[in-house]
């Protein structure tokens, strides 16, 4: 066994230990902090599996943004005084048996995977040449499986609409309550002023290099979302009202541009979501610009939650 395998084994065991803690921990807060740790470990695992694109998205969303969302929920639920009835011993035993069965089955599957592993990498490599992209994962997202990516954007929007629709009627169109009136000059406003410009730069950088190197619209958008949330926390930027026109434009931009390019392909007679022969790369970059913006805004607003204060001055 070489050093790399031992390291991976240690990392895998640590991931399992942290996950186990998240499941069985007594307090919700401890479990959530454990989950933040879990997200970080998971992105190390993705690096170990040589999937840096996934590692970027996971490190931005998995620990950081999801952690902020859950910590916020935990703080609001602190006053919940439920005495929850836990599952009986028999129920837990049955659950344990079921889960052990599922795990054993999956381990069996992992061990019995066919040996010359089936792979679509050569096909993806071929499609790279025609698009002018250098990153196969971005090419898969934007060309090979473009329809999936577009529908995934629609899912994000639907999720946001669903979250907004949870607001009581009297708040509809208003602002979400988030962050706080910030005292000037505290460490938080320092952090926000230093970190937000750099973070937005890094987000744009990740999206830009995503054409040829690990990165892309999802990682870039997630970073921008995180910076937006930090701005709301620090009170340096106000949470927009959900009825604001510019906000709606930013939200819809990704799907709209994607759909527009798709329909243009249909009109040109080459088929839905096909790219023009010699302009493939600029068109893809255009879609990605809109997507990065939409993903960033949508993710940030998903964390912020439904409107909670009526619209007005």
């Amino acid at each position: 066994m070489n050093v790399e395998l031992v390291f991976s084994l240690g990392l895998a065991l640590l991931i399992l230990a942290v996950a186990g803690f998240v499941i069985v921990a007594r307090g919700s807060f401890a479990a959530i902090v454990g989950f933040v740790a879990f997200g970080l470990m998971l992105s190390l695992a993705w690096m170990g599996l040589s999937a840096p694109d996934v590692a970027l998205t996971e490190s931005a969303l998995g620990g950081g943004v999801t952690g902020a969302l859950l910590l916020g929920a935990c703080a609001r639920l602190r006053r919940a005084s439920d005495v929850e009835e836990t599952l009986g011993l028999v129920g837990r035993g049955a659950a344990l048996v079921l889960c052990l069965g599922v795990t054993t089955g999956l381990v069996g599957v992992v061990l019995c995977l066919p040996d010359p592993a089936p792979t679509l990498a050569p096909v993806a490599k071929q499609s790279l040449a025609s698009t002018g992209l250098g990153n196969a994962v971005t090419a898969t997202l934007m060309v090979y499986r473009a329809l999936d990516t577009m529908l995934e954007k629609v899912v994000l929007l639907l999720a946001l609409v669903a979250v907004w629709s949870l607001a009581p009627d009297r708040f509809w169109g208003g602002r979400p309550v988030f962050g706080s009136r910030q005292e000037k000059g505290g460490p938080l406003s320092f952090l926000a002023r230093v970190l937000i410009p750099i973070g937005i730069l890094v987000g744009i950088y990740l999206f830009w290099v995503g054409a040829d190197a690990p990165g892309g619209a999802f990682a870039g958008g997630a970073i921008i979302a995180a910076m937006g949330i930090l701005g709301f926390f620090a009170g340096v930027s106000a949470v927009p009202a959900v009825s604001a026109f510019r906000l709606r434009v930013a939200l819809a931009a990704g799907v709209a541009v994607f759909l527009g390019v798709g329909l243009a392909g249909l009109a040109a007679g080459t088929g839905f979501l096909t790219y023009p022969e010699n302009f493939a790369k600029p068109v893809i970059v255009l879609i990605e610009v809109a997507m990065t913006l939409s993903i960033g805004v949508t993710l940030a607003l998903l964390v912020v939650g439904p409107p909670g204060e009526s619209f007005g001055p």
Binding site: I15, A51, V137, Y144, L302
Partner: protein
């Protein structure tokens, strides 16, 4: 034993752990956490498959990786929706229990 196998087995165990938490944990917030662990396990399983498919000078099969990237974002939006529903439930009933309790009718009376 390869790196893909190690993380594949780790992923299988994560799926089991997450499923157990989803069933056995009574609090909704903890169920959401368990759901995320379960999802992480499934994504990691994809990662193991992708790593095995390393070919054509790439570190892994890009197609499962792309699926996982969209999957992470969708899992996040599902989590955010779950949290929003939970907070609304708490606002309405003052509790987070998923069972029908007489408490619910009481709080309706006080609201109206």
């Amino acid at each position: 034993m390869s790196i893909a196998t190690i993380f594949g087995i780790c992923a299988a165990c994560l799926v089991g752990l997450g499923l157990y938490g989803l069933i056995a944990q009574p609090q909704p917030l903890r169920k959401i956490l368990a759901f995320n662990i379960l999802g992480g396990g499934i994504f990691l399983l994809f990662g193991a498959v992708a790593r095995r498919g390393a070919a054509a000078g790439m570190g892994g099969d890009p197609v499962p990786q792309a699926l996982v990237i969209t999957g992470i974002v969708v899992a996040f939006s599902a989590t955010a929706l779950g949290v929003a529903i939970l907070l609304r439930l708490f606002e309405e009933t003052g509790g987070t229990s998923l069972r029908d309790t007489p408490k619910e009718s009481q709080s309706e009376e006080t609201n109206s």
